[in-house]
Amino acid sequence: MKAFEPKIVGFLCNWCSYAGADLAGVSRFQYPPNIRIVRVMCSGRVDPLFVIEMFIQGADGVLIGGCHPGDCHYMEGNYHTERRVKMLKKVLAKSGLEPERLSLEWIAASEGERFAKTMRDFTEQVRSLGPNPVAGEKPNLLIMESLYAARNAVEDFRLRTLVGKELALVEKENVYDEKIPQERIDELMENAIDEELVRTRILLLAKDKPQSVKGLADKMKVPSRDILKHIVTLRDRNLIRLEGIEGTTPMYLAQTQEVEA
């Protein structure tokens, strides 16, 4: 077997980190060839969905490069990125993937050498984590399924609203001219991630075949009590319905039109 060569995707912002990467080249700083760079105008453009999608597609690591705090060409795109990455790391961890596979680095246009070093370090870091468990011939289905759920979760308005508004709510003011404490947002975010991941996983599992609360609890390693609560909420939103009762066990089926939408 060949030695493991991590596949890494890098999203670099045009004005700082992409320029930094160019400078590394101009200066002939050497680094391993594992990264495939995607240029974006601002790190703020990196939708959480892209990151999850990259991992689903088998990337072993994802690196996001942005401007140093205060340097963003678009004023505060990088701050938003910072909060998104924080959220994404939580989502990855909860999905069973090492959050260290995702890295956010501030790299200035002048930091060619730092860019090269970052590439060397991150490649090593990912190499030490080993291959992405969902890549290859025998993907880890539990993690794969969690990542699918995560993809739906980060598309849901709830996580997007929270992460999108976090900066404004914590640093500036909300609609009542008040600041929301970071802890409050962290707590809300933590709960929202937990809940949305479980809900999206339930919907995926119950998409084609009716599922029971206990069955879902066993498959997902989540207490039945919590599964039931989520089913109540999903039912309320017309995302799942009672399909029938087998013995004493109600069976639920996801309402497909809504899942696809």
Binding site: L162, V175, Y176, L188, V213, L228, I231, T249, Q257
Partner: protein, 1003 residues
Amino acid sequence: MTDSVGAVMVVGGGIAGMQSSLDLADSGYRVYLVDKSPSIGGAMAQLDKTFPTNDCAMCIMAPKLVETGRHRNIDLITNSTIDKIEGKAGNFKVTVSKKSRFIDESKCTGCGICTQKCPVEVVDEYNKGLKVRKAIFVKYPQAVPLIFSIDKDYCIGCGNCERLCKAGAIVYSQEPETKVLEVGSIILSPGFDEFDLVQKRKEYGYGRFPNVVSSLELERMLSATGPFGGLVLRPSDGEVVKKIAFVQCVGSRDRSIGNPYCSSVCCMFAIKEAVIAQEHNPGLEATIFFMDMRAFGKEFDDYYVRAEKEHGIRFVKNNRISSIAEDPITNNLLVTFIDKGNLVSEVFDMVALAVGMTAPKDAKDLSEKLGVQLNPYDFCSTDILFSPLETSKPGIFVGGAFGAPKDIPDSVSEASGAAAKASSVIASERGKLVTVKEYPPEKEVSGEEPRIGVFICHCGINIGGVVDVPGVVEYAKTLPNVAYAENNLYTCSQDTQKKIREKIEENNLNRVIVASCTPRTHQPLFQNTCAEAGLNPYLFEMANIRDQCSWVHMHEPAKATQKAKDLVRMVVAKAGLLEPLTRVPIEVKPSGLVIGGGLSGITAAQELSKQGFEAFIVERENELGGLMKRVHYEMVGEKKDVQKKLKELIKNVNSDKKIHVFTNSTVKDISGYIGNFKTTIDQNGEEKEIEHGIVIVATGGMEHKPKEYLYGENDNVMTQLEFEGKLAKKKMDADTVVMIQCVGCRNDERPYCSRVCCTEAVKNALKVKEMNPATSVYVLFKDIRTYGFSEVFYEEAAKNGVKFIRYDDETKPKVADKKGLEVKIWEPFLGEEITIKPDVLVLSAATIPHPDNADLAQMLKVPLSKHKFFLEAHMKLRPVEFATEGIFLCGLAHSPKFFEECVSQASAAVSRAATILSKKTLEAEGMVSSIDEDICSGCGTCVVICPFNAIEKDENGIARVTEVLCKGCGTCAASCPEKAASIKQFTDEQLIAQVVAAVKEVN
């Protein structure tokens, strides 16, 4: 009083508060209904079904909710609490503070778009924490007012809702408000709170064991709108519950936690839940563990018996269970209890704890601010026997569960009763603060070709997001008779009302259609707009293209649009056939006939007089007082001399110029209808005619003459009332007294409970002990039903050495006369039969209906219940009136009850009557039945099927509709063999036009 104010404040908008408000607003007063919650409805709005009829709570309550919400003379002041009060009865100044909703109440249409993108989830208290809601929310889908609120405790201020709200109703800068309101009197109906299971009853595992739930949580599970769509599922794993235990008296009848009183409703509540749960989870086994089954209300015992015999509910009596333990693996529950003297354990899937009622949490605060006294358990203190509705402060009254734990019909009666009391304080100010709406003269449109205007609503994006609204407008324009069509962002908004009026004018419209939401809530608004434009309000129709179209076909926009077009076409077809309808006014005679001169009748007459109406009392005996003449002392309250008080009361009635007393009299004949009755009274053989606007039936009841236990054979055997008479004359020197309960009732002949006898027995037992503590007193009973605060006296009697021995149908006491009385009874604790030799044997004899009820019922054409008491219009929500308008009932004529309950009911009957008597003329609803005299053959089918007695045969044998009595259901039209009957606004032609239009293809 010249400085009185013709307005009343009602505090608390549950079923009691709504009833008080409606009564007062309908009888000429302005009402401020203050509720601390963002919407009214109270506890009843959370119920799935109600006992003993298994009525759907929301079905029967929603009409009252809507009526309260849109009544011109009721100002809903939600989200608000009382700050302080100044002044005195007749003229109070009340400061009310209103929390911000962060929503402009005048702009929110309740469409609900805002909540869909709110990122914050909050535990939903309406669903007892079994569901989540959003931080911007409305308590329940049918809430009144249907206005959203932002829960600032949870809102993070992201601003999503503001961007979504097309009505611009979100106001983040909204400040709390303070208002000072002037009112003449105040009614307190803040309801109750639930006993705190988590803090005070830890040993039952509530909060620790997931499958131990409260009875209210179970109620939400049973509800179709609840978390599980009506199935009862185990919170631990979502499995269908197959075996459930109900544990009664959790937080009631328990001095150790400070609630020694009985919560009165939980027994029936548990039976109902068991029956309904069985209906929802077929095959469910239900067991109820209880101490005494307190099924004391009207037809409650029948329900109890049916639950046991027909539904197989298992009842384990005399049991406060020992413990509940959980199997940590299965989360099953192990209930340990005493069975035939042994401790046994049994496994259940779920345990429901009958959570007791406590005083509302803010009772102390309210009491301090208003200066009204509370009883030791923080419920409102009242002078129980004669004025159960009056607080310690003049001008402030109480209704509903705040006075004592009670069920819905008793709350509704009290609420009406309190309204009568509140009204009598300010009777001189009636009609001074109400809004009377003036409309322009109606345009004559009959004979004109229909010119229909169609207004189609986007409802923000609620309709417009699915249905192609402009497309529907264009389509509507092509329909026959449509003269104008347009679309609106919100057809219900104020500016659109103005626009509709203008368009009616400009286009000379003579029919109006709004295609938007549901006519159930919005039709009156648009009808009013039509009337303001001089159009008869019955020339209006609605098409429901939101609730029944865009919202239920969200993923099929093309088909939903097609359906919306069809629905519009259907109502256009109907609208072309609409006719202007008139409301026929009838004159009202401002007086009432009260049949029966017992405490109920006297109270009713007095209340009528206080309200400014004349009253005629007809009493068959030669003096007033009825059954109360035999009652000498009261158990609770100030222990006043009851007879002295009664004599005063009778004297006042006799000297009241507005009250005409006919003793030695009977009612010979009654004719006429609401507003205009004519009655012939037979007084000592002399006939007298009177005219009156309403009738109150207060015929009372009687004490049953026992046919067993040597009654009438041995002089020392007597009834409870006879015994009380002896006690009052101090003629009692017995060493041993035995009382037997349920004599002549709860048996096959009279399977109902007489409600008062347990408390009467306890009262007399305490009196005996007070007179001579050495006397032995035994009470032989089936269940002790000292509900409410009477429970405290039961406890006291037991403490004072009164011995209570339970018997059942198989172990009834045996009484013999063996040179002295001898009572043999099985003593369950000793496990043997014991013999008592009493000096006096007291029988708690049944309260029976008056034998004349049947004749009177026939004369009034009102029904009797199966136990021959009078049967009210609705057991839950219309306890003091008959289905036939203008006829009311109260007291023992309705069912056995305490004197204070008679006083409440009599006042309630007057309150309901005042909604009629306060008007010079009544207007019949326009949508009524009519009969074509030329076709009618006089077969009488309609007369038989009309439940409101609105159709009678006239002198020619032809059916005739009394329009004021008709409720417009139309069953007569569907039944008339000759098709002579028809129903306005829903005629055959109109319905068929809708059917034909529904089928016709559209291009």
